[in-house]
């Protein structure tokens, strides 16, 4: 169950996955991939729609790259089908598939100039020389590399190489552009800039992007939807907001962002309102995502930034779960501070925005504090 999407201005009505009439562009249908005795992908089905910026997210070895390589044609599924625009891709060799990939290592041809690298795909299509020249020029301008057409890859910086790789994959205007950890080799600042450039580019060209990444920030920033993968299986699929605010499993809750997680047993359920007995006392979850029965083992989770720090003497907001403990650690990040609070043998996290400069009543190590968490902020995790 997804919380209502707050419409971001530019993506207001874009949610083809909710539209039963929409036909997906890419479909994985019960795909399993085995390498010898190991199974990289297990009976996985998912659909990607046109103009989506779709992220496959997971730790290394979760099968996300294998999934992408099956679409590019470098691996073939052991079971199941991969379809592109309704057509089964089985038996279609990579060079005949209308998808292009930007490789993690960029895989630029070292003996060719930037221009020849970008022109390679068009030359393979047998395009006339003028058209190739024009389109390569356009691609170079698009990635802001106009002056470097004659350079060899080894004469470029990492960021420039990344752009050449992007231009080379985009110049053929593929139905789907696959990006394998595209920003992994860039430094932080450049990575953030490039994220926004990629988004702008994707929107301007109206293409479908599928990105493989282990970096959740990257996926959260860029993707229309994220598929979180765990050991070859799909753990959850949804918009970044849904994945973050309404994770359905402990794995997803833990993998995406920071979370406080407390195990417990259901003591009562009325509609979506569920009471849970935990080590920290009774907690009432306002919106349980799935039906539970009394006595069932569940976990209650909440995000650190959904916590309020209530100092001794203050009263917390009515209806909130109140937890009393002491500050064990403070991490000052500039914009945010994270507080580690010891409560009942557990260490919980609270994150607070440093909205006021030179706050005078700042809490300190060892201070007794109370944490207030609203019932709406609590997430009930069954799996």
């Amino acid at each position: 169950m997804e919380p209502p999407e707050r419409p971001a201005a530019h993506r207001a009505a874009f949610a083809p996955w909710d539209d039963p009439a929409a036909r997906p562009l890419v479909v994985y249908d019960g795909v399993t991939k085995r390498f010898g005795a190991e199974t990289a992908v297990v009976d996985l089905s998912l659909a990607v729609y046109e103009r989506e910026f779709f992220a496959l997210l997971g730790p290394s070895g979760c099968g996300k790259s294998t999934l992408m390589r099956m679409l590019a044609g470098f691996e073939s599924p052991s079971e199941g089908r991969v379809l592109l625009a309704g057509e089964d891709l089985a038996g279609v060799p990579p060079h005949l598939r209308p998808v292009n990939m930007m490789f993690q290592s960029y895989a630029l041809f070292p003996h060719m100039s930037v221009e020849t690298n970008i022109a390679f795909g068009l030359a393979m299509e047998g395009r006339p020389r003028d058209e190739i020249g024009a389109r390569v020029g356009e691609a170079l301008r698009m990635v802001k590399l106009d002056g470097l057409a004659g350079r060899k890859p080894h004469q470029l910086s990492g960021g420039q190489r990344q752009r050449v790789a992007l231009a080379r994959a985009l110049v053929k205007r593929p139905k789907v552009l696959l990006l394998d950890e595209p920003l992994g080799a860039l430094d932080r600042k450049l990575r953030e800039e490039t994220q926004f450039e990629l988004m702008a580019l994707q929107e301007r060209l109206g293409l479908t992007f599928i990105i493989v990444t282990h970096d959740q920030d990257e996926a959260m920033t860029m993707a229309t939807r994220i598929a979180v993968m765990d050991k070859g299986r799909l753990a959850q699929i949804g918009t970044p907001r849904a994945i973050y605010e309404a994770p359905t499993t402990r794995y997803v809750a833990d993998f995406i962002g920071d979370i406080n997680l407390v195990e417990g047993k259901v003591t009562g359920a009325e509609g979506s309102r569920v009471s849970v007995m935990t080590a920290l006392g009774d907690m009432v979850v306002a919106e349980a995502s799935e039906p539970v029965s009394v006595g069932q083992a569940v976990a209650v989770a909440w995000r650190p930034e959904k916590t309020r720090l209530v100092r001794a003497g203050e009263t917390g907001p009515a209806g909130s779960v109140m937890l009393t403990g002491t500050i064990a650690d403070i991490g000052y990040l500039g914009d945010w501070s994270t507080y580690h609070v010891d409560i009942g043998g557990l260490r919980l996290k609270a994150a607070l925005a440093n909205a006021v400069r030179r706050a005078e009543d700042a809490v300190d190590w060892g201070d007794p504090v109370r944490l207030a968490v609203a019932p709406e902020a609590l997430i009930l995790l069954v799996r």
């Binding site: 590019a72 044609g73 470098f74 060799p93 990579p94 060079h95 005949l96 998808v99 292009n100 990939m101 490789f103 290592s105 895989a107 630029l108 041809f109 070292p110 003996h111 390679f120 795909g121 393979m124 299509e125 060899k152 080894h154 080379r168 994959a169 053929k172």
Partner: protein, 295 residues
């Protein structure tokens, strides 16, 4: 010692080595090639003695001449021998490349745990004497040899022909072709081929557009490592070539040991060196460029 001095000393050592064991012998050979044959010990004149003194040296230096080179230029035998050597080296190298490339390619694409074994298999023949291995080919190629035993009814007259020399050369030099090719191909990033396929390039074309250009350093190294020594090869033409196969190395050997004409033999050696310096320099420049390109 300062760091600079240390560095100079380190550079000096190989240069001294080269000067001592290459330049000095070459100077001696070059000087010999300008001398005249004589029935004496050593079998040529003039001989510069330490006790002679400058005036005598000058007088003796006047005796030096380019006569031997004129002999080489004037006698078809030498020119033919040079041309025949170059031709055999060229054909041999071409065949080596044709055989060696697929071998090296297959080795580089083999599963990783097999590669060391395959490289070992290529090097293994070096464990036996080169002479014995070439002799073995006599046994295979001679009229009643192994090959003809297998081809009952259609005997081939290969022994003592140029074909036999080329077979021997290809056999003997195969590791020198395969190993540099293997080194170049093994180092190649295979995702480049995936990238080519991804951009619409069928595998056979990717081979020509990506694999071959990127293995060019290996091709160049392998070809020169084979071409240069094959041109001066002595043992293989001597054992497998019979009397009809002319090769400059064999001619040199004959001049030196049978005719005891050291000056002409030296002239042959100098010309051979000059002919081979050209390709060696091309090779060096190529290697230099490779290093500059940072690969």
């Amino acid at each position: 010692m300062s760091e600079r001095a240390t560095r100079r000393t380190i550079i000096l050592v190989p240069y001294l080595w080269l000067a001592l064991f290459f330049l000095v012998p070459f100077a001696i050979v070059a000087k010999m090639s300008l001398s005249q044959v004589a029935t004496a010990i050593p079998p040529y004149t003039p001989v510069f003695g330490l006790e002679d003194g400058p005036a005598v040296w000058l007088a003796k230096a006047r005796e030096l001449s380019l006569d031997n080179y004129a002999v080489l230029a004037g006698d078809r035998l030498y020119i033919d021998a040079f041309l025949s050597s170059l031709r055999i080296a060229l054909i041999g190298t071409a065949i080596l490349l044709l055989i060696g490339y697929p071998m090296a390619h297959a080795m580089a694409r083999a599963p990783e745990r097999w590669r060391a074994v395959l490289v070992m298999a290529v090097i293994l023949p070096f464990w036996t004497s080169f002479l014995i291995r070439v002799y073995a080919w006599i046994g295979i190629l001679k009229p009643e040899g192994l090959l003809n035993e297998l081809l009952i009814g259609a005997p081939l007259a290969i022994a003592n022909t140029e074909t036999a020399v080329i077979i021997g050369v290809v056999y003997s030099y195969l590791p020198f072709m395969v190993l540099p090719l293997y080194a170049a191909l093994e180092r190649m990033d295979r995702t480049l081929l995936e990238a080519a396929a991804d951009l619409g390039c069928p595998p056979w074309l990717a081979f020509w557009r990506i694999t071959v250009p990127l293995s060019l350093p290996g091709i160049v190294a392998g070809c020169f490592l084979c071409f240069i020594p094959i041109t001066g090869e002595v043992v293989i033409p001597d054992l497998l070539g019979g009397s009809d196969t002319l090769m400059i190395g064999k001619t040199l050997w004959t001049e030196f040991f049978s005719n005891r004409d050291w000056p002409v033999a030296s002239a042959v050696a100098v010309v051979l060196l000059v002919i081979l310096v050209g390709p060696i320099m091309v090779y060096q420049r190529h290697q230099g460029r490779q290093l500059e390109a940072g690969r």
